[in-house]
């Protein structure tokens, strides 16, 4: 009996020293989670109920900011449209582009590592430099794309200086930047068991059938991950507006995060900008939630029962 007690005591001592080490390790993350994540989250909700401008002390005004945003704000509607339009084009484009390139790179080709690096390189360049560089390609008179158009006998386009072309033009850049998705897809493709393909080939399935019924189902978890990654990133888009367009021309690229920046840090309407932030947060949360909820409809689970 005594021996058992002794053992138990010793074990709990080991256990507590283990816990002590764990808490020491977790101090930084704990501080971060409280002070940099969850308290600020509550903070933004609180500030959104005030009329704070940063100068006078804030007054509580209830949900006035929200009412104003939905009834009189001149930008919010354009802003939501621009953001969703941009995110849709960018996500769809970069998913298709990166899956396609990954499929090409997954075949037996020489110098695969080199080509993978080529497609990946845009991702490691500083975003501002990318946008500034592309703004020259999009230039209205002497830019490369207008040279192409004139060679094809078409009229010149102002691209990022034209309100109807600015979003597709910026989306093209973000598709080009999707090198990280290619690398993730490629890794996923290399994990698709080769035996499935061999078996299907024996049965006479052609390339498309094998892609459709083997590769694609095996890839659905990776597709989901990439979709989530690229959706969240693209819905928060702000750098092209800051570096190039200033939300223009007109309001055509006044993305939601840029709208918030403009309200809070240019016009110092901090209370109002916080309400905008909350609305952006809700929009992002809805998109993420829908993606998660619908995911079990199309994600193929290898261990699961296939219909």
């Amino acid at each position: 009996m005594e021996a058992v007690n002794k053992l138990r005591k010793r074990r709990s001592r080991i256990y507590s020293s283990e816990a002590r080490v764990a808490y020491i390790c977790l101090i930084p993350a704990f501080v971060g989670l409280i002070f940099l994540t969850y308290l600020p989250l509550l903070g933004v909700l609180g500030i959104s109920l005030t009329n704070w401008t940063g100068l006078k002390s804030p007054e509580f005004i209830g949900i006035d900011n929200y009412i104003k945003i939905f009834t009189t704000d001149p930008y919010i509607k354009d802003s939501i449209i621009a953001t969703i339009y941009f995110a849709f084009l960018s996500v769809a484009g970069s998913m298709i582009y990166s899956l396609f390139i990954a499929l090409l790179l997954n075949r037996k080709i020489p110098a695969r590592g080199f080509f993978r690096a080529v497609f990946y390189v845009p991702y490691v360049l500083p975003a501002v430099a990318i946008y500034v560089g592309w703004s020259w390609l999009y230039e209205g008179n002497f830019g490369f794309f207008n040279y192409l158009l004139s060679e094809l006998g078409l009229n010149k386009i102002l691209f990022i200086a034209d309100s109807s072309y600015v979003i597709p033009s910026l989306s093209l850049i973000s598709v080009w930047l999707a090198g990280n998705l290619i690398v993730i897809f490629l890794a996923g493709l290399q994990n698709v068991p080769g035996v499935y393909h061999e078996a299907a080939e024996m049965d006479g399935a052609n390339g498309w059938q094998r892609f459709r019924h083997i590769t694609l189902p095996c890839m659905t978890p990776i597709i989901f991950y990439n979709l989530l990654l690229s959706l969240i990133a693209n819905l928060q888009v702000v750098t092209p507006a800051l570096a190039l367009t200033n939300g223009g021309p007109g309001n055509s690229s006044r993305f939601l995060t840029y709208l918030m920046y403009d309200q809070a840090f240019v016009n110092y309407r901090i209370g109002y900008a916080s309400a905008t932030t909350v609305i952006i947060f809700v929009i992002l949360a809805v998109f993420t939630l829908v993606l998660f909820k619908t995911s079990n409809l199309w994600i193929y689970n290898e261990g699961g029962d296939d219909k």
Binding site: V21, C25, Y38, F115, A117, A127, I184
Partner: protein, 289 residues
């Protein structure tokens, strides 16, 4: 093997070879397409203004005007900006990687009370978009702690675990290391920190390098936060300097492109050094979910 089957196999082989050649041609084509914008920017940076506006435009500059770079550097204080950027990035990468490793270790290996709660909080914060906390954090850093026109608001968050995603990455990596290694060390009398420093850390070096690279890229691209926390041009980073430079020299495309190419350079060099780990780590993020 029958003659017919042999013939079928041979024709399949031939078909495979044609397909591989076609794939290779397609890959080369798309690679050229992907690299083309960078080349176009680079060749513009070496041209005179007259040559830029010539029709049809040349793919390769007639004279390689490296003097454009000298002219650019007179206004675009690249070395200064690079230094400033490194003042932010180096401490952030070191601190972020180190604290993420500590946290990842605790979650992967240690037993303690409240583990599942803290882990849930951590994972939950991964789904919280960074822009949501921007305003309260700005107020906290500038009003609460008095950091205005300072790098600290950009650096200090990395002393707090380096972001949930990075903690997650490290944890997954540590969990893939056999526990027998730790146990053997415990029998030899090593404590938890000894195990972390002398067994875990060497084993997860690729993951730590990847975390450092992610932090690097994140800071590199974060124009928004740099814009709101840094005011004086003395303290400009590359991203701020380039944005500002473009505003000044809107029409001088060759100098703007020279500044752009200069800004590309550190990223390319960093990438070439760490390429192997980069690919390994990104692969890891995709497959360990």
């Amino acid at each position: 093997m029958s003659v017919a089957a042999y013939g079928r196999l041979r024709s399949k082989k031939r078909r495979d070879r044609t397909m591989n050649i076609l794939t290779f041609v397609a890959v080369v084509f798309f690679a050229l397409l992907a690299i083309f914008p960078i080349w176009w920017i680079f060749r513009t940076s070496l041209m005179s203004s007259a040559e830029i506006y010539r029709y049809p435009p040349a793919l390769i500059p007639g004279n390689w005007l490296f003097s454009n770079y000298e002219k650019t550097l007179e206004v675009f204080k690249f070395w200064k900006y690079l230094w400033n950027t490194m003042l932010i990035i180096v401490p952030s990468c070191l601190a972020g990687t180190f604290t993420a490793t500590l946290c990842g270790y605790a979650f992967a290996r240690l037993r303690f009370r409240g583990k599942s709660l803290i882990w849930a909080l951590c994972i939950g914060s991964m789904l919280l978009p960074a822009m949501v906390t921007l305003i309260p954090l700005y107020i906290g850093w500038t009003r609460g702690l008095g950091f205005s026109d300072s790098y600290w608001p950009l650096i200090l968050p990395y002393f707090c675990g380096g972001g949930a995603f990075n903690i997650f990455l490290i944890r997954q990596f540590i969990m893939s290391i056999p526990r027998e290694l730790d146990q053997a060390a415990t029998i030899d009398g090593a404590g938890y920190f000894r195990i972390l420093f002398s067994i875990i850390m060497p084993a997860i070096r690729p993951a730590m390098i990847v975390v450092a690279l992610f932090i690097f890229i994140g800071l590199w691209n974060d124009l928004l936060q740099q814009m709101i926390y840094i005011n004086s041009s003395e303290k400009y980073t590359i991203a701020l300097g380039l944005t500002n430079f473009r505003g000044q020299l809107k029409s001088d495309w060759s100098l703007t492109m020279a500044a752009t190419c200069l800004s590309f350079a550190p990223g390319v060099i960093f990438y070439l050094i760490g390429q192997r780990y980069f690919v390994e780590g990104i692969t890891l993020t995709g497959l360990k979910n």
